[in-house]
Symmetry: C2
Subunit: 359 residues, 2 copies
DNA sequence: CATTCCAATGCAAGCGATTGCATATTGTTT
DNA sequence: AAACAATATGCAATCGCTTGCATTGGAATG
C-alpha cells in the first residue's frame, strides 16, 4: 500500500517571504519612466496599435518596460476588453491515453497564437459537467473545446446559448450545432474490414463502443457498411459498456460464446486488448484462431504479444486542427458556420491479423 | 456546410454591435433586481461575508442571481483582489504517459477548492520554458506546479524571485528552494534490487536516466546503495540519453555487450521496454536469460510479453498532494517553509523477473 | 500666408467586483 | 427615556488596462 511520509528532515531553507505586491510594475510606472502617458505605452506595446506611435518613442517605451520588468496584468486587460485570450478544454477523462496527445496538440496551437489553455476533467467522481462549463465561462474563456460531446448533447447547446464559440474534438455531435474535428470513423472501419477480407476472412465480428458517442455509433456503422459492401453477413456485434479493457473482455467473451468468428474488429484499442484476454481465457490464440483489429493506435500496442493491428488516428493533429478552427471562430466577428473537419486515419498492420485457418 | 457571406450581410452583422454582450449579467443588475445595493449582493454571494447580511436578503439575492443567470466576472474579481484562483502547471512533455495522471490528480484537487488549472507544455519544439513561466505569471496565477524541474533549476529561482508560490512534482530540485512531492526513488530501487536478489540474482545491471533529473540521479543512487547493502558488485551501469524506448534499447545493448548480467533494473518503464527490444535483437529472452524491472507502472505494461515487473508510483496521488501543498502555500500568509513530501512506491511483481538460470 | 489635414500623443471614462468607511436601523443599557 | 452599542446596508474608491475623443504641432494644400 501507499504511505505518505512528511519528511521533516528534508525541509531546509525558509522561503524568504518577498513582499509580493511591491514589485508589481504597472503601465503607469513604465509611462513615468519613459516620460510619456500610459496610453502611449499601451499603444507602443501592442503590436496592433504600435504604428500610431513614433519609432523613437516605441523604442524608449520598450526599453523602460524591459528594464522595469513590466508584465501586463491580463486580468485588467480582460476586464476592459471582454476577452481573456484563454480557451477552456473539457476532457472526458485524463486517464484515457488518447486525450493527452489531443491536449498536447491543442496547447501547442493555442500557445503559438498567444492563447492560454485552461482544462477541466469531467472524469472525476461527483463532478457535474455543466458546473465545469459554468466555471469555465465564468473565467471569461473566449472559447471552448469539448472532447466530451455525446451525439445529442445539451452542454453544447448551453455553450451556444451563452454565445461562447465551441469546437468539438474526437467526438462529434449530430445536431450540427457546433463545428467538430474528428477522424473518419467509417473510413477507419472500412480499412480494417478491407484488410481482413483481403486476408480471407468472411466471418468478422464487431465489439462496438457506446452508441451515444459518435465514435461508437459511427464505427459500428462503418463496420456494417463495409461488411455489406463486401457482401458479407453483418455481425455478430456486441456493445461494450465502456471503453475499457474489462468491458472489452466481457463483450468479446459474449461474442465468442455466441458465434464462431475468425476475426474481431474492435471500436477501440482497449476493447481489443480486452478481446486478447477473452481469447486467452478460452484457450484461443491470436492471430491463429482469431484475428483482432483495434482503433486509435495507443502507445505501446505495438509491443504487445501479438503486436496489435489497429487504425491509427493522429490525435495530436486533431487537437491542433480543433484549436485552429476555434481561433478562427473566435476572430470571425459574426461567427463561422458550423463545419466538420474530418481527418483520414491509416491502418497499422501488425501481428494480430493473419489469414484465417484453412480448416 | 460552408456558407459564404455576402459583403452586405457582413456589413450588417458588424453594425449590430452587441450580439453577445447583451446577455451578460452583472452584480449591479442582480442588485437592482433584488432591490439592494451591489455591495450587498457581493457580500451575500460570498460565503465568507454572507454572515453580515440578513438571511432574508441573502435569500432574495440568491434567487435573483439564479433567475438572471448571474455568473461572476472573475477578471474583475482578480483585478480587484490581486488573486485569480488559477494555478499554472508546467509539464515537460504531455506525450509522456506519466504526466497525464499527475495532471489529473492536480486538476481534481484544485477543482475541489475552486481553483482552475492552466497548463503549459514545455515539450513543444521551439518553446522557451522561461517564456512559458512569464506568460503564466502574467496571467496572475496564484501559484505554479512544475513537473519539469532539473536538479539545479533556475526557473525555480525565477518563480521565487517573482514571489510566486511553487511546488515541484515528480522531479525534485536539490537546492531546497522549493517544496516538492516525489516518489521515494531510492526506496523504489531498493524494492527492485531486493526482489532480484531474493530470486538469486547476483549480477544486476542498471540503465540509468539523465543525471540532471532527480529521478535519474536518485534512482541510480538507490540502485548503487541497494547493491552495496547486499554486498554485490555495483554495475554495469549505462546512462540512457532520454526516457524513451529507443534510448533504452541503445543503452541496454551497450550494457549487454559489455558485460554478462542476469538482470537489469531500468530507471523507467520505457527504458525497460527498450531493453526488451535489445534482448530480442540478441536472441536472448526475458526472463529466462535476463530478468528486467521497470519503474512507474505505466498503463499496459502488464499486458506485454512478458508482463513487466515494475515499481509502481501513484502519479495521481502525487498530483493531488502537490496541489494540496501548493494551496497551503498560497494561503499561508508568510509562506510555508520548503518541504518534501515523499510517497512510497510499491513493487508490482509480474512475469519479467524470475530466478536466474542455474547453469 | 492662411487654411486644412494628418499624425502623434494626452485625457479620462469606464470594464465589474471588492471592501473600508459612513450611515441607518435596530436593540440594549442605565 | 436618553445614550449607546451592535448590526445591517449603502457609498464610493479602487484594481490596471484599453480606447474614443480632444488636443497639439507640423506638413501639405490652395
Amino acid at each position: 500500500m501507499l504511505t505518505l511520509q512528511s519528511n521533516v528532515a528534508k525541509h531546509i531553507a525558509m522561503q524568504s517571504k518577498t513582499p509580493r505586491a511591491s514589485r508589481v510594475v504597472t503601465l503607469k510606472q513604465v509611462a513615468t519612466d519613459a516620460g510619456v502617458h500610459s496610453s502611449t505605452v499601451s499603444r507602443a506595446l501592442n503590436p496592433r496599435t504600435r504604428h500610431m506611435i513614433a519609432d523613437e518613442i516605441v523604442q524608449r517605451v520598450m526599453t523602460s518596460a524591459k528594464r522595469l520588468g513590466y508584465r501586463p496584468n491580463s486580468a485588467a486587460a480582460s476586464l476592459r476588453t471582454g476577452t481573456s485570450r484563454l480557451v477552456g478544454v473539457l476532457l472526458p477523462d485524463l486517464f484515457n491515453p488518447v486525450f493527452a496527445p489531443i491536449l498536447g496538440g491543442i496547447t501547442a496551437a493555442l500557445f503559438r497564437e498567444g492563447y492560454g489553455t485552461i482544462i477541466a476533467d469531467a472524469g472525476q467522481e461527483g463532478v457535474d459537467t455543466n458546473e465545469l462549463i459554468e466555471r469555465l465561462i465564468g473565467r471569461q474563456v473566449d472559447g471552448l473545446i469539448l472532447a466530451t460531446a455525446a451525439r445529442h448533447d445539451d452542454t453544447v447547446s448551453a455553450c451556444i446559448e451563452n454565445g461562447v464559440p465551441v469546437v468539438l474534438v474526437n467526438r462529434a455531435e449530430e445536431d450540427g450545432k457546433a463545428s467538430a474535428v474528428v477522424s473518419d470513423d467509417e473510413k477507419g472501419m472500412a480499412l480494417a474490414v478491407d484488410h481482413l477480407v483481403k486476408l480471407g476472412h468472411k466471418s468478422i465480428g464487431h465489439i462496438a463502443g457506446l452508441p451515444n458517442l459518435s465514435t461508437g455509433y459511427r464505427r459500428r456503422h462503418g463496420y456494417e457498411a463495409a461488411m455489406r459492401a463486401h457482401g458479407l453477413p453483418v455481425g455478430p456485434i456486441e456493445i461494450a459498456s465502456a471503453y475499457s479493457r474489462e468491458a472489452g473482455e466481457i463483450a468479446a467473451g459474449q461474442l465468442l460464446d455466441r458465434q464462431r468468428v475468425s476475426a474481431i474488429v474492435a471500436a477501440n484499442d482497449l476493447l481489443a486488448l480486452g478481446a486478447y484476454q477473452a481469447l486467452n481465457a478460452r484457450g484461443l490464440s491470436c492471430p491463429e484462431d482469431v484475428s483482432i483489429v483495434g482503433h486509435n493506435d495507443m502507445p505501446l500496442v505495438d509491443m504487445l504479444q501479438p503486436p496489435l493491428t489497429t487504425v491509427r488516428i493522429s490525435h495530436r493533429e486533431m487537437g491542433r486542427e480543433a484549436a485552429q478552427l476555434l481561433l478562427r471562430n473566435i476572430n470571425e466577428p459574426s461567427g463561422l458556420a458550423a463545419r466538420n473537419v474530418v481527418l483520414m486515419p491509416t491502418l497499422m498492420v501488425r501481428g494480430s491479423t493473419a489469414a484465417p485457418k484453412t480448416r
